[in-house]
Symmetry: C2
Subunit: 515 residues, 2 copies
């Protein structure tokens, strides 16, 4: 304990020294959650959810819209109805298959110092992924372009609280749909040195990702199988349907030992029952069913149990995020994933249409839930706005600051003769102050977490300086970060090989289309 | 367990039925925290803080700036230096005295249905108290007036998440300083029916509060001693000084069996050591020293252990609130208060100068800390802005919504055959939806928490309707609440007696001044 602590406080000191030159950010660091996970339900209640999930899989089943997947499922003992593509599994089969999935695994970045661990008490923050729109204060909300995508990737790389690069932070709507994954992969590899997500829509996009990550890491496909380097998200089309293209991508990922996050989209009241217990039973059934399938494809293939249960607004039917129901679903989802010994993913979400107090309130509800639930992969942890329809430059910075604060309060607290400060208290008379005390001067540079956005100036000074909100200050911060962005080093030979691969594949796709 | 749950869900249903007619608020309800408190430090580490605190009291002492207090301290075995007014106490004396304070007590409101419990796992939310300034979006920031004070009191009474009325929500700077406490007491009694705070600056203001609460409740002073009805905050002028006027007020409160919140103002790096451990050691020493004194004044007098440790910004020396350091201090403060078997107070705080994402982020850090620490009295829980210099009408509504969300996720979750929803899942085909399911229709009205401010409409609809931020929506909500405010009933005879008391005392004070 005490040796881990002193190691932690050494790396904290190093982190702070670096911050002086990098705009008040701590250096990039892996992060472990030292708190025990919170329990909302007891083991009996959790068993009832699990039992319902297993009953759903045994009696109702999931629809797998892929004959190739149905073959594998049938070969492995699932009950397959070829007419309806419905697949049922006995509880014993589910348990046997899910048990093959690793409880913890490494993801290897092209820069080995940026590799991360999924599972245990590791927490990994990944940025916004998937929105069609992008926004910033000057240009407002607009369809995403490749330039926006690259700028968001650069911004993410500049935010040291983020562990992963993630999936496409915004759709590059100005590029052809059939080949834009190549441009996205190229950007992730050249603009960041962190783990990123392949796009699991069909096998070919995964094949491209596998080839390109081998070129980037300078390794062979065989090596990749024992060193997972890619992530992908497989959403279940809740209720109980798994899409053909996603299944093709998932099989390609699993066959190659790459990691899949299996995430049912169980909005309570819309795609799942209106009760959180029912939504979680369905989420569990869907996640376990697809995870069992991945283990049939390749035993030991790395998977993450994804939770995305939230609720709809019953007045409008609109999805609501960062709600009390979401907090419960995230925390209970964590409890369930630990019963199944699987790494867990949840997200930082909001329904707000702008970067206002609703957005932060919902994000803070989400982030506290991710920490209290022992989420291993916090998806969409920066920049997600408007229920995931928009990637916001300002919210990226706001959220990074929230994450920084969350990580800071979870750092070990030093309790020692020095920190208890009896001598400093003795040396300061009643009614005096500690500003000039030796005890203070020795420590003040690294004593406190330094946020990026908080304005602590007196009201009058702040007002005379334009009365800027934190959202407006975030606008200056992301521009500053982009102006100071430096691409991480990449071997020129590898870069050339990547350029050539992308050019060749674009020609092929233009000629023959994506298979 | 299950009977408590069904009771809770019955009251939840009632709460929701009422919400339809009261602008999406739940009805006023007492609130217990069902989660276990979070532990940052282990018992050995907590002992080191306690030991340092006891050593401070034994070897360094606190300055009590009141000869009357010094007499009492000396009579009870404390070591008193009359030259310096420094008072030292042996650990045994501290332990013996603090043990006389109740671990839990009731506070009696003039409406018995609004009485509250301090201690155990009870959580009580009280509004902003003490700022000189007030603000709203139209009129901006300005010195507080009696009209503002009354409007804030009306707004607080209209916010059902608040359990107490609190202290003056803003200074009535347009009223004479010597008698404005009478106007404030009159407003608290006539505009609310909840527990409120007396102003402990000298004995006379407390005497007025005692007389007026007796008139309001229709009881005698003797009855008041066994039924505490008033709270007051006693801040320690950290480091280690207790002000004469506050001591006079504290003695008057304790003699009459009324409750005092003993709150050192230990800003780490300014009024306490720059280390959180040192600041907490000093906070503990100051709180325990003054609490021990209250028990010398009257054994069993109700007290609350107040935590207010935060940190300064080391660049500017400005106080910083809602920081990671504040979160730790609040949670560890809760651990320490439980070791001493004392009810615990902490707060919802922010440094922001406006109701922006910084304000909400810092408030959410604070509120989660209050819940995870098992704070019994969440002070300043709505409307506190700008480090406590300003009471904000909009932030009052924003914070009430945050509290509503926090309370909602902590409600018991029903796990039953009905909520697990197997039949509803069976009845919904893959790719279908649950909007029209019988299971949904039976439950949708009360299934989810309904926030006051979240706007869940699609972007385009929201934009065409003016693209209002949640802060702007809060402006409409507080106006709506004030327009629909109704004063709680008060017996006309009691009202007359109160009016007469205030008129008489104002004349006396105008003639002779406050003693």
């Amino acid at each position: 304990m005490s040796s881990r602590r002193s190691e932690d406080s050494r790396s904290k000191r190093e982190a702070r020294r670096a911050s002086a030159s990098s705009g008040q950010q701590s250096v990039w660091r892996r992060f472990r959650n030292p708190m025990p996970p919170l329990a909302i339900l007891n083991e009996t209640e959790l068993s009832l959810i699990d039992d319902t999930a297993l009953r759903i899989l045994e009696e109702l089943g999931l629809e797998f819209q892929s004959s190739e997947a149905l073959d594998i499922l049938e070969d492995n003992g699932a009950m397959v109805d070829r007419e309806t593509s419905m697949v049922r599994m006995m509880p014993r089969l589910v348990r046997e298959m899910v048990a093959k999935a690793p409880a913890q695994f490494e993801l290897h970045a092209r820069n080995p110092e940026r590799s991360v661990t999924m599972g245990g008490n590791w927490v990994n923050f990944a940025p916004v992924a998937g929105p069609p729109y992008v926004s910033d204060l000057e240009q407002g909300r607009r369809p995403g372009t490749y330039e926006d995508q690259c700028n968001l990737i650069r911004l993410h790389q500049s935010l040291n609280v983020l562990h992963l690069a993630g999936a496409a932070p915004v759709e590059a709507q100005d590029l052809p749909a059939e080949s834009r994954h190549l441009d996205f992969y190229h950007a992730q590899i050249t603009l960041t040195d962190r783990v990123w997500n392949a796009r699991a829509i069909g096998r070919e996009r995964i094949e491209d990702a596998l080839e390109m990550i081998c070129l980037a890491r300078g390794c062979l496909r065989d090596a990749l199988r024992s060193e997972p380097s890619l992530l992908t998200v497989i959403n279940v089309n809740s209720p109980r349907r798994v899409d053909k293209e996603l299944l093709a991508g998932l099989m390609a990922m699993a066959e190659n030992g790459q990691a899949a996050i299996i995430t049912p989209f169980t909005l309570a009241g819309a795609m799942s029952p209106v009760t959180i217990a029912g939504a979680l039973a369905q989420q569990t059934a869907e996640a376990l069913g697809v995870i069992a399938f991945t283990q049939m494809v390749r035993p030991g293939a790395p998977v993450i149990f994804g939770g995305f249960t939230s609720n709809v607004d019953m007045k409008s039917g609109a999805p609501a995020f960062g709600t009390p129901e979401y907090v419960r679903a995230v925390i209970i989802g964590g409890q369930i994933s630990r019963r199944w010994k699987l790494p867990y993913r949840s997200s930082n979400v909001t329904s707000s249409n702008c970067v206002d107090v609703q957005a932060t309130a919902e994000s803070m509800m989400s982030l506290w839930a991710t920490i209290m639930s022992h989420t291993n992969l916090v998806y969409h942890s920066t920049g997600w706005l408007e229920g995931g329809l928009t990637a916001s430059f300002e919210k990226s910075v706001v959220d990074a600051d929230l994450i920084g604060a969350m990580r800071a309060w979870l750092e070990p607290l030093e309790i020692s003769e020095g920190s208890l400060a009896y001598d400093a208290i003795a040396a300061t008379p009643p009614g005096g102050h500690f500003f000039g005390a030796a005890h203070t001067l020795e420590r003040f540079e690294t004593a406190f977490h330094m946020p990026m956005l908080a304005d602590l100036r007196p009201y009058q000074t702040w007002a005379e300086d334009g009365a800027k909100t934190a959202t407006e200050r975030a606008n200056r911060v992301w521009k500053h970060l982009l102006e100071n962005y430096q691409a991480p080093p990449l071997d020129p030979g590898r870069r050339e090989a990547l350029d050539a691969y992308v050019a060749r594949r674009k020609q092929e796709i233009a000629r023959t289309g994506l298979a």
